[in-house]
Symmetry: C2
Subunit: 168 residues, 2 copies
DNA sequence: ATGTATGCAAACCATTTGCAATGAC
DNA sequence: GTCATTGCAAATGGTTTGCATACAT
């Protein structure tokens, strides 16, 4: 529950993972872990690259991609691909499982706490599959867009170019 | 429930959608819809492109991408991004909602029927969000990989190159 | 000392885009 | 006849890769 305690914990886990797999414990790797666990919510590689290089550290994209792969492999980070071209990541440890409400209109991703989906009963049905983590993606229209869409629909006799207008 | 009935139905829906949005009813668009609804399970753009051009029709990639966008927009097709670099698609109409069991070891995606996750009670909690569809992605290790992994782990004192060996 | 990890730049490849030709309306 | 759509080829951009250098072991 304690914030610094979590960082300590994940560092220990990561160290154990690196040792087990005979990977080197480089300062870059720990800096990335530290930085990710100071981040709340989702992030992508570009923002991670920029925020890390803005601050003290100097890290190459290649190293970021390499390290995130390790963190995914040991389960300290989770990867999402909500529909845009960029992958999103999220710290996994000390981060309650939650659904993702992805607005198919504006692309906004909101988190939504779910109940205990994987009760023992549910779990039973998945016997031949060792669950490591799961993601619930719920696509729909968020409240904001519902409102503005209602307005739009009134005057939607104007020409429509749905296909081309979705890119910036 | 009837197979040809479904095709008929989606064709009607697609036609209505095209009319409503003042898009043209080209033979390519209907051929793509027809082809997709003859496909069971997931597919990606490359396989769609190849299988369509193998058969009678001749379709460009650009048109496939354009049309799939329309089909996504009117809800007849669902898009998934399970973690690889290619997007996967799936027909949506007459296709029961199901979870996706994605093996993080071999990448295999299996479907798994779920119960009625969105009971009225559950639904209530999502008041400000109009659900259009949802995807449950469950990551873990499939039975096959669990077995072969058990063997591997025994002799895993040999060198480890987890990062580099995952691309073909 | 040894060989893995880093950082840079180039390569990759799914997807997008520009544009001339086609054909739905 | 008009203009959206097609198809091709070129461009885009997130991610991966090759290789020389740096450094954890």
């Amino acid at each position: 529950m304690d914030k610094s305690k979590i960082k300590e914990q994940v560092k220990t886990e990561f160290t154990a993972y690196l040792t087990l797999h005979k990977h080197r414990k480089t300062p870059e790797r720990f800096a990335i872990l530290e930085h990710i666990y100071s981040t709340k919510g989702h992030f992508d590689m570009d923002s991670l690259f920029k925020s890390m290089n803005n601050n003290s550290f100097r890290i190459s994209r290649a190293t970021l991609y390499n390290t995130i792969e390790l963190l995914l492999d040991c389960g300290l980070v989770v990867k999402h691909q909500f529909g845009a071209n960029v992958s999103q990541y999220e710290r996994a440890y000390g981060n309650e499982n939650h659904d993702h409400l992805i607005c198919i209109s504006c692309g906004e991703v909101k988190e939504h706490k779910n109940g205990n989906l994987f009760t023992p009963t549910q779990q039973k049905k998945l016997q031949r599959f060792k669950i490591s983590y799961y993601s619930m993606y719920i696509y729909g229209i968020c409240g904001k867009c519902l409102k503005s869409k209602a307005k739009q629909d009134v005057k939607s006799n104007t020409k429509n170019n749905n296909i081309t207008d979705k890119k910036k």
